[in-house]
């Protein structure tokens, strides 16, 4: 059985006919070839597959593509459409990554946090990123990156 599914991904309308069992992450990676979204754990523990669904960060390995029917998806590629996003800049500058595999998910989660809370405390950052695992950095530089991103974004807004 195949079904038609359409959604808006990074601002563009896409439509495919897929098996209903296809996971959203596979739709994004295999059908759309947006490979910045990663599969890390399969059990919705690690958050490497995080994308924004109608503005909210979700784990695309635990959502069926058909569940996103008619919704708006933003992936890591979509964040930099108008040039590098301040969060992306901050992760580079503060060494918030090593192997890079968890990074897109970390940035997506940070994006949701900073959209609703422009100046989060360290505790709020830790809570917002509690669904994302990183094996390389020990999270310290990731926390520093989010703090720095929040600063960058607030300065940008004032301009």
């Amino acid at each position: 059985m195949k079904v038609k599914v359409s959604m808006v991904v990074n601002g563009e309308k896409v439509e495919r006919v897929v098996q209903p069992r296809m996971l959203l992450v596979d739709f994004i990676r295999r059908e759309l070839r947006l490979t910045g979204t990663h599969v890390g754990c399969d059990t919705s523990s690690c958050g490497a597959c995080a994308v924004l669904l109608n503005g909210r960060a979700v784990k695309s390995c635990t959502i069926l593509a058909v569940q996103a029917e008619g919704k708006e998806i933003v992936t890591i590629e979509g964040l930099s459409k108008g040039g590098m996003h301040p969060i992306q800049k901050a992760f580079v500058e503060k060494q918030g990554l090593q192997c890079g595999y968890c990074t897109p998910g970390m940035i997506i989660s940070s994006y949701q946090l900073l959209s609703s809370n422009p100046n989060p405390s360290e505790e709020e950052i830790r809570k917002a990123l509690s669904g994302n695992l990183c094996r390389c950095t020990g999270y310290k530089t990731i926390i520093d990156s989010v703090k720095y991103a929040s600063k960058l974004m607030r300065t940008e807004k004032r301009k």
């Binding site: 490979t35 979204t37 754990c41 399969d42 523990s45 090593q98 192997c99 830790r126 509690s130």
Partner: protein
């Protein structure tokens, strides 16, 4: 080549920029038009006879064996054959038995369910100590003990104090965020392999040897590699099957590990135990040490298992000057996935064993943690009876104590100190290639970066040596076609060896440039000509470095012990990039903490892994992140760029200090990692 074209198109951004943009190129990001997907069918039993297999690809058709390649690989004569696909019997849960291929991975998984295999389950051997006297798990052997060596001379000693304890580090699952994976592409004449790897050379050697291919027929290209920690240095059955399937179908074949497969079938690390005995004088001076080491090597003699027992034994004295040392070192087969290297690979185990005994001695004698360590160090160079060189441990320890403000720290209740030696794996050297063409400098290394930021230090060295701006220097992932000979990235070796090889390659280019352009050439001049130098750098002697960790623990609201701060004081030589070094230390410290607090590849008595997710395996979450302080003792090494090893230091130094800090709070003696939550519930709740 699709990938190469893409690489050329890609504006060569630094790796970190590509990663934040989602433009990393990992192996699962490869999509060839007519690609097939491979799914491995695995044993659900720890030990069983195979009565029947009916599958698409089975061991009858693909009758090949695994060879030992990669970190710590030793040629070892053994009667135990590790088949790529099991035919007669299986020896661990997750062992590959058959394989299927399909146009789509969903379909491949459906097909895998159709494969018929009949087993006759046997009683597995799970506990390594029980394995010593259990019925051998392999038919052609008469014991599960397959390594039994002795190091040093046995001795009799009647000391003031004799302490004995059985200590252990349970198995840990490496769990890089990116699982293992491969794309094999046979075009009718040559096999091109794209992989997530620490070493393209190990892969090439392993694939050529298992499938009896000549080196000219195989090329291995490293994709961006999303962490490894030891798990991606060697070769695995799945890679051989993927290569075979591609040769058979003449189509590209992709295999990407699921996390559950990673938990079950990627080599675990640690898994080492020791009966330790120390002999000491009343003033705390240790006069003798005996260790009976047992390594839980799993089902086959591959990976580090044959080498680990004596490697741990070799460094069992740590940085201490102990005159008499006697080690018995054994490895046993058990019905578990074969053991492999995990960040530190033997070094953390040895440090854990000796540091635990030192702390126990300090309690016994009522001595301060620093004092008892100091009295056991040597001033100047020291060579242990087993050959380990340590350079002036006494003055290093004194410097560390000053820098760490030891006298104020030690007043805290939950306080742990550790002192250790890092032995980088220098054998047999490493390669680098530097090529100038079209105004661009390209650099390749023999070892493959998997998160340590090789591109940063490599470009920086080239920039300094050739006086060329960073933006003109491109770093390329490793590729057997680009450098003929190389080794791999493990054992705290890359910055030291590959860094030295880059320096030498650059110096050769400078020499040639001088001959061509005269003594005072400029960077622009250099870039307008073509140069191409490959160097295999072979170091001489040992290059060990020292480190100290202090870990602090406090009690939380519910009454549990929690780690609040980790302080590192490491000799890292001349730092190539301070920020990256700090990041490496902090990340490694967190892994060391995981070993103590949560990480465990737990099996039940049926040999079933009872861990079902990366979280259950104990990978720490952001909530566990304590405060960090990193201080470097920057004494240059004799390498041309002055570097020393660093990557594994925190996994060596943090566990003994962390367990000590919690032990002081709990008021009870801890002997193995990981602790349970019950262990750290203070005052029994």
């Amino acid at each position: 080549m699709l990938i190469e074209e893409e690489r050329k198109l890609e504006k060569p951004l630094p790796a970190s920029v590509r990663f934040v943009l989602g433009r990393g190129k990992y192996v699962d990001d490869i999509f060839f038009d007519n690609m097939l997907y491979l799914k491995i069918v695995r044993s659900p039993y720890a030990r069983a006879k195979i009565l029947k297999v009916n599958g698409e690809i089975t061991g009858r058709e693909l009758s090949a064996s695994m060879t030992s390649v990669g970190e710590g690989a030793t040629e070892r004569k053994t009667r135990v054959n590790y088949p790529v696909l099991a035919t007669d019997y299986v020896s661990y849960v997750g062992q590959p038995v058959a394989a299927v291929i399909a146009e789509d991975i969903y379909e491949a998984e459906d097909k895998a369910e159709e494969v018929e295999i009949e087993y006759e389950p046997l009683k597995p051997v799970v506990d390594p100590y029980k394995a010593i006297d259990s019925e051998p798990i392999h038919p052609n052997t008469n014991s599960n003990v397959f390594v039994d060596t002795k190091l040093g001379k046995d001795f009799d000693e009647s000391a003031d104090v004799v302490l004995e304890e059985r200590l252990g580090c349970e198995r840990i699952i490496p769990n890089p965020l990116e699982p293992r994976g491969i794309v094999a592409h046979y075009d009718g004449t040559r096999l091109t392999i794209y992989g997530s790897t620490q070493s393209v050379y190990s892969w090439k050697e392993g694939i050529c040897s298992s499938l009896k291919l000549s080196p000219e027929q195989v090329r291995v290209i490293q994709m961006d590699t999303g962490g490894a920690f030891g798990s991606k240095g060697g070769i695995y059955p799945e890679y051989i099957v993927a290569a075979y399937a591609s040769i058979k179908t003449k189509r590209p074949v992709k295999w990407i590990e699921t996390r559950l497969e990673h938990l079950q079938a990627t080599a675990h690390g640690r898994g080492a135990y020791a009966d330790m005995k120390i002999y000491a004088r009343r003033d705390g001076r240790i006069v003798g040490l005996k260790a009976d080491i047992l390594v839980d090597s799993g089902a086959y003699p591959v990976g580090v298992a044959p080498w680990a027992p004596s490697w741990i034994g070799y460094q069992i004295t740590g940085p201490y000057a102990i005159e008499k040392v006697y080690v018995r070192a054994r490895a046993v087969y058990t019905n578990k996935v074969p053991l492999g290297p995990y960040r530190g690979a033997g070094r953390p185990e040895a440090a854990f064993f000796v540091e635990r005994m030192i702390d126990m001695l300090s309690d016994k004698l009522g001595k301060d943690a620093l004092e008892i360590r100091k009295i056991n160090t040597h001033e100047g160079k020291w060579k242990s009876p087993l050959g380990l060189e340590v350079n002036d441990a006494r003055s290093f320890l004194a410097r560390a104590a000053r820098q760490l403000r030891y006298s104020s720290l030690k007043r805290k209740r939950g306080f742990g100190l550790s002192f250790f030696v890092l032995i980088p794996n220098l054998e047999p050297g490493e390669s680098a290639r530097v090529k100038i063409q079209d105004g661009i400098v390209r650099v390749w290394l023999g070892g493959s970066s998997h998160g340590q930021g090789h591109d940063e230090f490599a470009r920086r060295i080239v920039s300094e040596e050739l006086d060329v701006p960073m933006e003109k220097i491109y770093f390329e992932n490793s590729d057997t076609e680009k450098i003929n000979r190389g080794v791999g990235s493990w054992g705290s070796r890359s910055a030291v060896l590959a860094g030295a090889a880059i320096v030498e390659a650059c110096r050769k280019i400078r020499e040639k440039a001088r001959a061509k352009l005269g003594p005072r050439f400029k960077a622009e001049d250099l870039l307008s000509f073509e140069f191409d130098e490959s160097v295999f750098f072979k170091p001489e002697g040992q290059l060990n470095s020292l480190g100290v960790n202090v870990v602090l623990a406090t009690k939380d609201k519910l009454g549990f012990g929690r780690i609040s701060k980790i302080i590192s004081y490491y000799d890292a030589g001349n730092l190539l990039n301070r920020n990256m070094a700090v990041s490496q230390v902090i990340g490694g410290a967190m892994q060391g903490l995981g070993q103590v607090l949560s990480e465990r590849a737990a099996y039940n008595e049926d040999g079933q892994l009872v861990i079902g997710s990366i979280s259950e395996a104990g990978v720490l979450k952001i909530s566990a992140t304590p405060d960090f302080e990193v201080i470097f003792d920057r004494e240059k090494s004799r390498m041309p760029h002055g570097a020393k090893g660093l990557g594994e230091s925190p996994t060596i130094g943090v566990p003994p200090a962390a367990i000590r800090a919690l032990e002081k709070l709990a008021g009870k003696w801890f002997t193995k990692t990981p602790l349970t939550e019950e262990d750290i519930l203070l005052n029994g709740g």
